[in-house]
Symmetry: C2
Subunit: 318 residues, 2 copies
C-alpha cells in the first residue's frame, strides 16, 4: 500500500503558481454557505516557557474525496532566539472513505497565507467597484503584500499605496511589489489611503481603529482581514454601520471576532443584515449594485479554505 | 532548515524491537500521575457514508523536548471493501520550544497497539503475583496476542490459555504465539481460564460481563483493557468490588469508561479507593502486598503513552 505523498515547501510554492486559487477558494466558500462543510471546534494547546500555542483545525466538505487536518503553531520567540519563523505548520489530507493518509504538505504556514490572500481576491472579484482607481493597503506585512499580489487577474489596477505606522519594512514592501509590476507609494498618513483609494485592504494586528467613518468615501470597498481575535479592530464601528453591504466569510465566526463583532459590541450595528460570502458568490443580487455603494468584507478565516488549498496543491502535484 | 524525519511502518516495527517499551511507558504514567502532562480534549469528526470516525489525540509532558499529535481513524468497511485495516493513523512529534515538526511516524495504528500492550506489561510488573502459574487471555485479537508477547521479560511464565467465543482465529492465535516460544491452549470455556490462571488479561469488545465474581480465585491479577467506551464491559461489577487493589491508568478517565465506571454505575463500588498507575509505580506500598490479594488494573489508554512511544521510536531512529 502506498503511503502519503509528502510535498515540501519549495515544491508547494512552485505548484501554487499554477493553481487557480481564486476558483478553489470560491468553491470552498460556496460549499460552506450551503452547509456542506463539517468544521469541528479548533483544538488548542498552550505552552508557557517559552510561550507558544498550537492549533489544530480540521474539517471536510461532505461528500468529498478527502478530509484535511491543519497543524499550526506560533512561538513568539522563534525569530529572535532561533532565526526561524514564528508560525510553523503543515496540512494533512486523508481519504474520506478509508481514513488513509493521502498527502502531507510541509508548508510551514505558507498555504495559510495563500488561502487568506486568495479569499481577498474572491472578495474583490464580487464586491470591488468596476473601476478600481487605486489599491490601498494598511499594513506592510506578509498579508499586506500577498493580498495585493493575489489581486492580479481580478482587479485591473497596478497603482498601490500602503500605510504603515513607521517606515519599518516599507522599503522592502515597495521593492517586492514593484518587482511584480505594481507602482507603489508608502505613507504614514492613513488619510492619503482613504482619500485616493476605492479598494482598501486592512491587514494589521491593530487593537484600535485605524480608519474613521468620515474618511470613507462613497464607492469604496474595504476588505478587513487583520482582526482575527476578539481584541483586534481596524475599522471604526461606524464604518460597518455606514456600509451598504457587509459580508462575512463565516456568519457564526463574525459574531465572535472581527470588525462585525466589534461594531455589534459597540452598539452601532445590527448583524442581521450581514450576508455570507458563499451566498454572495452564488447570488448576484447580494453583490455591489452601484459604484456609489460602500461595501465591507470581514474575513476571519474558515477551515474550508485549508481544505480547498490542500486539495488544489495535491491535484497539481499528482 | 531540516524538515521532519519521516519513518514508515516497516522501519518502526524494526525499531520497536530494540526499545525498552515498558520503561518508556512507565515513565509516562509517572509523569501523568505527577500532574506533568497536558492532555487537551480529544478532537473528533464523524462520517456517515461510509461510516467512519477520526480522532485527534494530543498532549505533552511539561517540560519536555516535544509534543505529540496522534491522528487516527476507524472506517469499519475498510477490510471488506478495500482489503485494508479498519484503523489507520500516524503520530507526529514537534519541538516543544519552537513548534517545528521533528518526526512523522507513519505507523498505521501499530504504535497504539504497542503502547497499549506495554501498559499491560507495566501493570503485570507491579501487580502480578510473584509466581505466575498460567497466563489467561480473553480475546484472540491483536491485543490478545500483543499483551502476551509484551509480558516476556516481565513475567516468568510461557503457559497461555486463551478464550474466544468461537473457534474463529484461535488456530492462528496459537500458531503465532507458539512461534514465539509460548505453550498455548485455546478454549471456549471461560471457566478453564479462571480456574487455572492467576494472571488474566481481558481484551474483548464485549458489552456484557464475561467473568463472574465467583470464578475469580484469591491471588489473581486481572488486567482489563478491552472496555474503552462507555457501553463496553468485561468483568461482572462484583469483581471490581471484591478486589483488594483497583488501579486505573487515569482516574479521571476511569470515571467515564472501563470496568471501574461500570462497577460504580452498578452501585456496588465506591471509586474513592482507586489508585492511579503512576502512583503504584512510584510507591511500593500501593502495590500487591501478598500472593492472596486480588488486583485489577483497568486500562482505558492515556495520551502520555502515545507521547512516550513516539519519543522512544524517534530516539531509536536518530
Amino acid at each position: 500500500m502506498a503511503g502519503p505523498v509528502i510535498i515540501e515547501l519549495p515544491r508547494i510554492k512552485e505548484l501554487v503558481k499554477g493553481i487557480d486559487t481564486v476558483r478553489a477558494i470560491e468553491e470552498g466558500f460556496v460549499a460552506y454557505s450551503q452547509g456542506k462543510v463539517i468544521v469541528p471546534p479548533v483544538g488548542e494547546m498552550h505552552f508557557e516557557d517559552p510561550p507558544g500555542e498550537v492549533h489544530i483545525k480540521y474539517g471536510a466538505i461532505v461528500p468529498d474525496d478527502y478530509y484535511v487536518i491543519k497543524l499550526a503553531s506560533g512561538f513568539a520567540e522563534n525569530p529572535s532566539k532561533h532565526g526561524i519563523p514564528r508560525l510553523q505548520g503543515m496540512m494533512l489530507m486523508f481519504n474520506q472513505k478509508t481514513g488513509q493518509a493521502v498527502a502531507i504538505l510541509l508548508d510551514q504556514g505558507y498555504l495559510t497565507n495563500v488561502r487568506t490572500a486568495a479569499a481577498g481576491a474572491v472578495v474583490a472579484k464580487y464586491l470591488a467597484p468596476k473601476k478600481v482607481h487605486r489599491i490601498g493597503v494598511l499594513g506592510v506585512g506578509m498579508q499586506g503584500h500577498m493580498q495585493v499580489e493575489f489581486l492580479k487577474g481580478v482587479v485591473d489596477c497596478n497603482d498601490v499605496i500602503a500605510w504603515a505606522p513607521s517606515s519599518n519594512g516599507t522599503d522592502k514592501y515597495r521593492a517586492d511589489l514593484e518587482a511584480q509590476g505594481f507602482k507603489v507609494e508608502t505613507t504614514q498618513d492613513v488619510n492619503k489611503v482613504a482619500a485616493t483609494c476605492n479598494l482598501i485592504i486592512t491587514s494589521t494586528p491593530s487593537r484600535k481603529p485605524l480608519l474613521d467613518v468620515d474618511q470613507i468615501r462613497p464607492g469604496t470597498h474595504i476588505t478587513a482581514m487583520g482582526s482575527d481575535t476578539p481584541p483586534k479592530i481596524e475599522l471604526a464601528p461606524g464604518i460597518v454601520a455606514k456600509a451598504d453591504i457587509v459580508v462575512a466569510d463565516s456568519i457564526p465566526q463574525s459574531k465572535l471576532r472581527g470588525e462585525i463583532s466589534q461594531a455589534v459590541r459597540a452598539g452601532v450595528f445590527n448583524d442581521e443584515t450581514v450576508v455570507e460570502l458563499g451566498n454572495v458568490i452564488m447570488n448576484p443580487e447580494l453583490r455591489r449594485q452601484s459604484d456609489a455603494q460602500i461595501t465591507i468584507a470581514d474575513l476571519t478565516g474558515v477551515a474550508v479554505q485549508d481544505i480547498q488549498i490542500s486539495k488544489a496543491v495535491y491535484h497539481a502535484a499528482t
